[in-house]
């Protein structure tokens, strides 16, 4: 059976794509952020995952309000990025894993998650930037990928509790996949930030740090909050922490924190990074 080796959760701010394209990794503004990924690179070189299940949120590239799934699972052999309207460079396509996609789809529906399946799916910066951060250098990452998208565009968004349960179901699905693959789960987005309204620029360092800590000590801690409570605590777009929750919930059994980084600000966002491995 497939083995889950751990999860990596990271911010996916679009301007990171611009900084990568302009090679600003060592610039004083950017280095506290990019330097945080060095231990992640070393770990990835050591463990060499075969597949990444990437839990992210689309921002209006693949999905519009005409048809907006709460949970969507990619089932394509290839995922393409495209023009998002505001100028970050379009990156090379990503390889899919159809066997794992359909195993996830079949298992999730069996577990009463009525997901949307997507045999064609554009992936936006929330998918592409974390891939570039984990495997820098501009070449296609050495993993096959399955994107899983959670709606955070339009309320009602799935609750923290529901997203956590989705993560648990994703984890048990991966573990029942008849394959010898090593699987990495990724959760992208957050942490606290708000782009819209007079409250734009809202950041909550205290909550973010507590949340990151909770993922080790008590991973379902944030499920006590309703979606609107989360908006109040972490900002309108900070609710992307749902991706972190789902990714963490996918890990079976005991875990070990390998690395974390937290830095304010990247663009309008409190940036966060965690690498948590499973202890087998």
């Amino acid at each position: 059976m497939a083995k889950i080796i751990g999860c990596i959760t990271t911010t996916h701010v679009p301007s990171i794509g611009g900084a990568i394209a302009k090679k600003l990794q060592n610039d004083p503004y950017w280095s506290p952020f990019f330097d945080g990924f060095k231990p992640v690179h070393a770990w990835l070189k050591k463990v060499k995952p075969d597949v990444a299940v990437v839990i992210y949120n689309d921002h209006g590239l693949n999905f519009f309000l005409d048809k907006l799934p709460t949970f969507a699972v990619g089932a394509a052999s290839e995922y393409r990025h495209a023009d998002e309207g505001w100028g970050i460079p379009v990156v090379a396509p990503f390889r899919g894993d159809l066997d794992l996609s359909w195993h996830l789809i079949n298992t999730l529906v069996d577990k009463e998650f009525d997901i949307t399946t997507c045999q064609e799916m554009l992936v936006d910066h929330a998918f592409t930037i974390p891939m570039s951060l984990l495997w820098p250098g501009g070449e296609s990452p050495p993993v096959r990928a399955v994107p899983i998208c959670i709606n955070t565009v339009q309320f009602p968004i799935p609750s923290a509790r529901r997203s956590y349960k989705l993560g648990e179901a994703i984890g048990s699905a991966i573990e029942s996949w008849d394959s010898d693959a090593k699987v990495l789960v990724m959760g992208t987005g957050g942490l606290s930030h708000q782009l819209d309204g007079e409250r734009a620029g809202f950041i909550n360092k205290e909550f973010d740090l507590k949340f990151m800590d909770s993922l080790i000590k008590q991973p379902d801690w944030a499920t006590q909050y309703s979606s609107t409570e989360l908006v109040e605590l972490v900002g309108s777009q900070g609710v992307e922490l749902l991706m972190w929750l789902a990714a963490r919930a996918a890990l079976p059994g005991p875990v070990h924190k390998v690395h974390s980084n937290y830095h304010i600000p990247i663009s309008n966002t409190a940036s966060g990074l965690m690498l948590i491995e499973t202890v087998h």
């Binding site: 519009f64 819209d196 950041i203 360092k205 309703s226």
Partner: protein, 117 residues
């Protein structure tokens, strides 16, 4: 059923729920179209014609003319689609944040940096 589970509104924050999604559909659909460079060019060539093509109401059309983000949100705009409108003018999220908070971009960036201390 109420979408806001709180007993109070969140200051300076509009939850993009069904009420906003209904109100803003035409505006958001137009902004979604700006994923395409061809559409961005068409908008720039004749802005009013492009707004009419997407059936914007007067409030939405005015907010587009005014390049005013708070007015666009009040007219039902969702920030993810509005960001694509801002992209036409090379505006980033700090420009947008500064405009909405009535600050200079430098002051807005300083406020963000201060949140880290």
């Amino acid at each position: 059923m109420k979408v806001n589970q709180l007993n109070h509104p969140i200051p300076g924050t509009t939850i993009f729920d069904g009420v906003q999604a209904r109100k803003g559909y035409a505006l958001n659909k137009m902004c979604f179209s700006f994923n395409s460079a061809e559409n961005r060019e068409e908008f720039k060539r004749d802005e009013d014609a492009y707004c009419k093509k997407y059936g914007l109401n007067a409030q939405q059309h005015d907010a587009i003319r005014n390049r005013n983000v708070l007015q666009l949100i009040a007219a039902g705009g969702n920030i993810y689609y509005l960001a694509k409108f801002g992209g036409i003018f090379g505006l980033d999220v700090q420009d947008v944040g500064a405009q909405q908070t009535g600050m200079s971009k430098e002051a807005f960036k300083a406020k963000l940096a201060a949140a880290g201390r």
